[in-house]
C-alpha cells in the first residue's frame, strides 16, 4: 500500500512537472515525435523491402535451354537428374514449340517473323525452381556442366543489384534513426535536468525528511516516460492511418506487382506498439541519464 501511495504521488508529481515546464516539455515531445515518425517510416520501409526481397527471391528461377540436337532419351535422363538434384524444387519442361506459340500470341511482328522461318529457332527448355536461392549460382553451375545444355541463366547481376539497393536504403535509414533517437534522449535528459534544478529545494527537503532514493528519483523517471509516450501519440496515429491510406490508394502495389506492400493489419498495430515502446524507453533513458548525472543522492 505504501509503495502504491509513493507510486501514485510520483505519477502525480511528474504530470505536474510536465506542465510546469511546458515549453521544454513541448520541445522534448516535438523532438520525440519527429524521431518516431522517422522510425515509423524506417520500419515500414524496412519491412516492405524485406517483403519485396522475399517475393523477388520466390520468383527466381533458372531457365535451362537444351541444344537443338538433344535426343529425347538424353532429355528424359536430364529431367530425372534435375528432379533428384539437391536444391531443385521443381523442373518444368517447355518445348520449343510451346515457346513459339506463346511468342506468336504476344505480338504480330513476332508471329510474322516466326511464321516466315521454315524451322523453329526456339530451343526446348526447363524452368527450374530452387529450394534455396542462396545456392542458385552453384545449382546453375551444376546444370551447365551437362554437354547438351546450351545455356542456364537466372538473371545474375540484376537481382543482386536490386536487393543491394534495398538493403542500402534500409541500413541508411536505420543509421539516421539511431542518431535521432540519441538526440531525442539527450533533449529529454536536458528537460529533466532543468526540472531537477527547479525542484532543488523540494528534493533537499525530501532527502532531509527521509524519503528513500527511489521515492525521490521515481517522479523524474516517470516524467521522461510521460514525455516519451506523449511524443509517440502523433507517430502512432500517422503510421496507422497513413499506411492504411497508402495501401488503399495504391491497391497494395507500388509501380509493379512485384513491389507488393504488406497487408496493413496486424502490421500497423505492431508498428504502433513498437513506437510506443521506443518512445517510452527513449524518455526513460533520457531521464535516467539526467537523474544519474545531476541528482546526487
Amino acid at each position: 500500500m505504501k509503495a502504491l501511495r509513493i507510486l501514485n504521488r510520483s505519477i502525480r508529481d511528474s504530470f505536474k512537472s510536465v506542465f510546469r515546464n511546458i515549453s521544454l516539455s513541448v520541445a522534448s515531445i516535438a523532438c520525440t515525435t519527429v524521431t518516431l515518425i522517422l522510425v515509423a517510416i524506417s520500419l515500414v520501409l524496412t519491412y516492405n523491402v524485406n517483403n519485396v526481397t522475399t517475393n523477388l527471391e520466390k520468383e527466381l528461377t533458372i531457365v535451362v535451354y537444351l541444344k537443338k540436337d538433344t535426343t529425347k532419351e538424353n532429355r528424359i535422363n536430364f529431367e530425372n537428374d534435375l528432379k533428384t538434384m539437391e536444391n531443385v524444387e521443381k523442373a518444368q519442361y517447355k518445348s520449343g514449340e510451346e515457346w513459339k506459340s506463346e511468342m506468336k500470341q504476344e505480338s504480330d511482328t513476332l508471329k510474322t517473323t516466326l511464321d516466315y522461318l521454315s524451322e523453329n529457332p526456339l530451343l526446348d527448355s526447363y524452368i527450374v525452381t530452387v529450394k534455396n536461392v542462396n545456392d542458385l549460382a552453384s545449382t546453375t553451375e551444376k546444370i551447365r556442366k551437362y554437354e547438351f545444355v546450351s545455356s542456364a541463366e537466372y538473371g545474375e547481376g540484376m537481382v543482386e543489384s536490386i536487393i543491394g539497393i534495398f538493403d542500402a536504403i534500409s541500413k541508411g535509414t536505420i543509421v539516421i534513426v539511431l542518431a535521432l533517437v540519441l538526440v531525442t534522449a539527450f533533449l529529454i535528459s536536458n528537460t529533466i535536468k532543468l526540472t531537477i534544478f527547479s525542484r532543488k529545494t523540494e528534493i533537499e527537503i525530501m532527502r532531509l525528511v527521509g524519503a528513500s532514493n527511489t521515492a525521490i528519483k521515481l517522479p523524474f523517471v516517470f516524467e521522461g516516460f510521460i514525455l516519451g509516450v506523449m511524443g509517440s501519440i502523433i507517430p502512432i496515429i500517422l503510421s496507422i492511418y497513413g499506411y492504411v491510406y497508402l495501401y488503399d490508394i495504391s491497391g497494395g502495389f507500388i509501380f509493379t506487382k512485384i513491389l507488393q506492400l504488406s497487408a496493413p493489419f496486424p502490421f500497423v498495430l505492431i508498428v504502433a506498439l513498437f513506437l510506443l515502446v521506443v518512445g517510452s524507453l527513449v524518455g526513460m533513458f533520457g531521464s535516467y541519464r539526467a537523474v544519474r548525472k545531476y541528482l546526487k543522492i
Binding site: 501511495r5 504521488r9 525530501m206 532531509l208 525528511v209 527521509g210 524519503a211 528513500s212 532514493n213 525521490i216
Partner: protein, 237 residues
Amino acid sequence: MKLIKVEHAYKIYKNGTTAIADLSVTIDKGEFVFVIGSTGSGKSTFIKMLYREEKPTKGKIVVGGIDVSKLRNSKVYKLRRKIGVVFQDFKLLPKLTVYENVAFALETLGLPNKEIRPKVLKAVEAVGLKDKLRNLPSQLSGGEQQRVAIARAIVNEPKLLICDEPTGNLDPDTSKEIMKIIEKINKDSETTIIMATHDKELVNKMKKRVIVIENSVIVSDDMKGRYKVHESITDSK
C-alpha cells in the same frame, strides 16, 4: 541513555582541509546542547555529520543506534527518519500552504492521508500556527516561517532535532519565541536538541550544555555553559 556517540571522528576534505580532528563526544537522550564556534571552526561540519550530510573520513559516529560512519548512501533515509532538521533559511516550499508544507514530509514517506492529518495538526498546534494552516509562506513573518519549518521537522516525532542557526535570520524577540518553542519540544517529548548558533544572549540565558568547537576540535564542553568565543573572533551579538 546515549543517543549520540562520537569517537575520534575526523573530517578531511579532498583538498586537504581538516574540518574536524579527533572529535569525541556523547550526548544523552533528551539533552539540549548548544554547539558554538566561529565561522570555519568545524561546527557546521560536525552538525552535518550527525545527519550524514557529510561522512566522517575516520572515526565512529553512532546516532540512535545507527552507525553513521558505515551508513551507505542508499540507506541514509533510515537515519533521516529519526532526525528533524531546521535551518536558518527555513527551506519551505513557496507554493504550498502551511498545512501542505508540513504534510509534505509525511507524504514523501508514503503515509496515508488519514494518518497525515492528525499528525500535521498536532505539529502545527505545537508551534502555535493552527489559525494559519491555509496561509502560504509569503503571507507569514520570518518567525512564523521558522515555526512552520520546526513543525515540519517534528511532525514525524524524531528522537533528535538538529537546529542549524535557526534564529540567524530573526530579530531578538522572535528568536526568543522560537527558543521557547524548541525548549518546549525538548521538555514535552524528550526530543534531544542540538543547536548550532551565534546568538550569545540566547545561549547565556538558556543555561544548557554548551560545546565549543574551534579549529576543528572541541575546546570546551560545559553542562551549564556560557557563550565563549576565541579571542580572535569578533561576535556581533
